[in-house]
Amino acid sequence: DAGITQSPRHKVTETGTPVTLRCHQTENHRYMYWYRQDPGHGLRLIHYSYGVKDTDKGEVSDGYSVSRSKTEDFLLTLESATSSQTSVYFCAIRDRGDTQYFGPGTRLTVL
């Protein structure tokens, strides 16, 4: 699975609190992605990164920010969590053949 880990795996938080999810990869991949998965919507891209400190928005980026200060880590931050951000979040990398490999996911519940 391309050495991708996500932390935490589960989190319950309250509306209005900041939350940071971490994606870590060990194989020096340049491209990293954050998706959210909700019933009926499939996988929707939040943000992606094409290098250290190089990031771009996806289709559902509002309310999310990202940072990538090292090749191996891609952080997703919810500055002020809302109930609509309750979801399963997947991190992914893209290999040289355009294949995406996904991390195990983080289940986030915002009360």
């Binding site: 998706y35 919507h41 499939g42 996988l43 289709e59 355009d98 195990p104 996911g105």
Partner: protein, 110 residues
């Protein structure tokens, strides 16, 4: 923006029956990828199709890319309980962004 529609949304089949899911786009696709996600798991890459009219097989799975590169299908022959999960198509839309279909959830009844 480019959208990829996937049908059906759900499919229940008896074990041993065939299954097909379709992916359709209103615009020409540069490529199409298929992923499988087991219940409670993460999406796993199955295959990528690039050429018009391309057909690829993986054991009981047959993948097709339409001649106009606007649609694709995944066909499973003689389903087994191990085929249970959600199947997604995806397209890179010519950039480094991936657009995923909404997925087809397959349930196989033993």
């Amino acid at each position: 923006g480019q959208q990829v529609m996937q049908i059906p949304q759900y499919q229940h089949v008896q074990e041993g029956e065939d299954f097909t899911t379709y992916c359709n786009s209103s615009t020409t696709l540069s490529n199409i990828q298929w992923y499988k996600q087991r219940p409670g798991g993460h999406p796993v890459f199955l295959i990528q199709l690039v050429k018009s009219g391309e057909v690829k097989k993986q054991k009981r799975l047959t993948f097709q890319f339409g001649e106009a590169k606007k649609n694709s299908s995944l066909h499973i022959t003689a389903t087994q309980t191990t085929d249970v999960g959600t199947y997604f198509c995806a397209n890179t839309s010519g950039t480094y962004k991936y657009i995923f279909g909404t997925g087809t959830r397959l349930k196989v009844l033993a």
